[in-house]
């Protein structure tokens, strides 16, 4: 059981780490899709099937497409898909900060006593989730719906082209 988890973790972490170091943005986005699929596999391993399919739909399906569109819309020329290499000082300080946070978190996790609890796997059916969403958590569901609507409308307003500015910009 642990071997499967370690395999999933290695694939996910490897894909994420390589994606964060590549200079080609398209390759980074594709590797991050692999990483998100690994996270979905972790959810399947943990027994949360509904969350795994939501992760596949939202991240592997939707967010990755939005990212690819953003990469293609913000390149400077047709062949310009690589980004300039970042400054070594910035990379170094980022690495030091991230390494320090990583050390603190690992130390805390390893030092804290978390015994093997023999709790049975909680089983949640989609029917239960639906009942809870519509019953106990109906208010949260409505609020999330409003947040999504407002955020997507805001995204359209921010990203939509301003006609007047465009005609002034183009020579």
């Amino acid at each position: 059981m642990n071997a499967v988890l370690i395999a999933i973790a290695l694939v996910t972490l490897g894909a994420a780490a390589v994606a964060m170091t590549l200079r080609n943005l398209i390759h980074s986005a594709l590797l991050l899709i692999a990483s998100w699929a690994g996270v979905a596999a972790f959810y399947l391993w943990a027994g949360a099937e509904f969350v795994a399919f939501a992760e596949v739909l939202v991240y592997v399906g939707a967010v990755s497409m939005v990212v690819l569109f953003a990469v293609l819309l913000t390149r400077r020329s047709r062949d310009d898909l690589t980004v300039a290499s970042d400054s070594a000082r910035r990379a170094f300080s980022g690495f030091i900060t991230g390494g320090a946070v990583c050390g603190v978190l690992f130390g805390a996790v390893i030092a804290s006593p978390m015994g093997v609890m023999s709790s049975p796997t909680p089983t949640v059916t989609v029917r239960q989730i639906g009942t809870q969403l519509m019953g106990t958590h109906a208010a949260s569901l409505l609020i999330v719906g409003v947040i999504l609507t407002v955020a997507l409308l805001g995204a359209i307003v921010i990203a939509s082209a301003d006609r007047k500015d465009n005609s002034e910009d183009t020579p």
Binding site: L5, T12, L25, F42, M117, L133, A159, A161
Partner: protein, 103 residues
Amino acid sequence: MSPLQLCLLFSSALFCIGLIGALARSNTILVLLGIELMLNAANINFIAFWRFSPSPSPATGVLFVIFSIAVAAAEAAVGLALVIAVYRHQKNIRLQEAARLKG
């Protein structure tokens, strides 16, 4: 080592990869992707604690993660729209050069 600790180590490592990416890269899209990785690491923590600890109601962790994914999707959409807006003004999406508030 218990499976819960392994899950927590996994999510800590994913969080730190996202943090290093968000701090070290200067491309705005890659910074956003690093933040998405950090959000995913938090969701992994929710699921790990839901799976390995007794909870009063069986669906709590799952519902938490579903709401978290919805908010993360909204954040990604707004963030990438901001990237496109910055690109339209500056013709560039390097973070260091987007230093003006007025377009």
